[in-house]
Amino acid sequence: MGLLTILKKMKQKEKEVRLLMLGLDNAGKTTILKKFNGEDIDKISPTLGFNIKTLEHRGFKLNVWDVGGQKSLRSYWRNYFESTDGLIWVVDSADRMRLQDCKRELHALLVEERLAGATLLVFANKQDLPGALPAADIKKGLDLDEITTHHWLIQGCSAVTGENLLQGIDWIIDDIASRVFTMD
């Protein structure tokens, strides 16, 4: 292996970003992942286990881990925390009845030591539904202003229409990049 190969390998590794996507069940995590990757979204079943996708975006290699959100799976979430650069928390903005559950689960994650360095992006999903709470209300409902330990941003979006998905992902990549990588 020549020096150039080693350098190239380091370079590739350098631009790798690991994103962990979590949230209550029915939030639309898998739909966001598939929509972002340009796949068909009509045939998605509730996730029993997890999905991993490696995407190329803006010269970054994104390893996205989408873990099922059913109550019985949440205790396994911690198996995926290691070396996470960014946490994407997905919320069903129309599910007003479970906003408290949603807040509790999110704040439980934020005290996790292994997620301490991760950037947090909150997707207020399903904004295509007329009954969806706007991102500002979700922000209030989840007490996001209390968070001082992580860089965070809330972004209203719709996985069905694809609205604002790119903006959210771009933000989280930029934030991670500014912490982790020195630019060329």
Partner: protein, 335 residues
């Protein structure tokens, strides 16, 4: 001797020649060295000029605050702008914002950690104010479901500005039934493409003659729920002794007991913390159902009503004790 002379001569000539060449090469090398040094010097000057101009924290702040000001100016202009142009304007603003964000990212190399943190705080404040402005000027269209008596509903309500959140009740979705007992409740096609919520109902019959995008159901007992095709997901929890006749793309059932489901689901239905729930195929018909199927985009040919994932029963070789199929003779018809 001639040979020797010749040899001497040749050697002499060689010496002369090689000395001449040496001198020539030395000159050339010196010249090159000078050129190289000059070039290096020039590069150095250029580079330090550039880096002084660009990579200096002060000039970073100048450019950052200039672009930030531009952005804020644009934002304040929005107030007086025509409604039709607002969307384009906000797109423009978000492009400006992204450019600014990229500029910050590229400058991280030379910015001290404190300045970087400050800048990022500034950035996120800016984004929040953009978002707030956007929400203020382009309010989301709101829909409220009123009882059928009032006739035409939706048009006028949609014009009104968004009501301020007051209490838990308002926190529930717009198309909803809650806290009813022993009633027959009907919604018509005004729920198309909307989200519907049903909560805390006892001994009610609910008919949804339409194609909503999503349905949330919570805390029902002794109810019968009939719904047209739902283009997205239905989420059911904490129900007892009910009957559901629903069609949808995704169906999640939680903490529900003694309940029958007649379903058309195009992905796989799941149950969690449920017991004595049973399943049969969807069989409700009403006047516009074909039209609603078409609008919902559900594939009529694909129905996995008999293939349920139990999240509390992961053994593949043994059937979950929590759910069963309704025998054909026991299936009810719904109209």
């Amino acid at each position: 001797m001639a040979n020797a002379d010749g040899a001497v001569f040749v050697t002499k000539e060689n010496i002369c020649d090689s000395e001449f060449t040496k001198q020539f090469i030395a000159d050339k090398l010196q010249k090159r060295e000078d050129e190289r040094l000059a070039h290096v010097q020039k590069r150095k000057e250029e580079k330090s000029a550039v880096s002084a101009a660009q990579e200096n924290t002060k000039s970073f702040y100048e450019q950052f605050s200039k672009e930030k000001n531009d952005l804020e100016n644009e934002l304040s202009l929005c107030d007086s702008l025509d409604k039709n142009k607002l969307v384009d304007k906000f797109d423009e603003i978000s492009v400006m914002y992204q450019k600014l964000q990229r500029f910050v990212t590229e400058s991280t190399m030379f910015l001290p950690a404190y300045d970087l943190q400050q800048t990022q705080e500034n950035l996120s404040k800016l984004q929040t104010s953009i978002q707030e402005k956007r929400n203020e000027l382009i309010p989301k269209k709101k829909f409220a479901f009123k009882s059928k008596k009032k006739g035409t509903v939706s048009e006028k309500v949609e014009e009104k500005p968004k009501p301020v959140l007051e209490d838990e009740d308002v926190l529930l979705a717009d198309c909803k039934f809650s806290d009813r007992n022993g009633e027959q409740l009907v919604m018509d096609s005004t729920i198309n493409k909307k989200d519907v919520a049903l909560t805390c109902l006892d001994s009610c019959i609910v008919k949804l003659h339409g194609t909503p995008s999503a349905v949330h159901i919570n805390k029902l007992s002794n109810c019968t729920i009939l719904s047209g095709p739902v283009s997205g997901s239905i989420f059911i929890r904490e129900c007892k002794n009910c009957t559901f006749v629903v069609a949808c793309q995704q169906l999640r059932i939680h903490t529900t007991t003694d309940t029958k489901f007649y379903i058309h689901v195009t992905s796989r239905a799941i149950i969690e913390d449920c017991s004595t729930v049973s399943f049969g195929p969807y069989n409700w018909t009403y006047d516009d159902i074909e039209k609603h199927y078409e609008m919902s985009g559900l594939d009529k040919r694909r129905n996995s009503w008999d293939d349920i994932d139990d999240f509390n029963w992961l053994a593949a070789d043994k059937h979950s004790p929590n759910w069963s199929l309704i025998p054909e003779d026991d299936r009810k018809k719904f109209t």
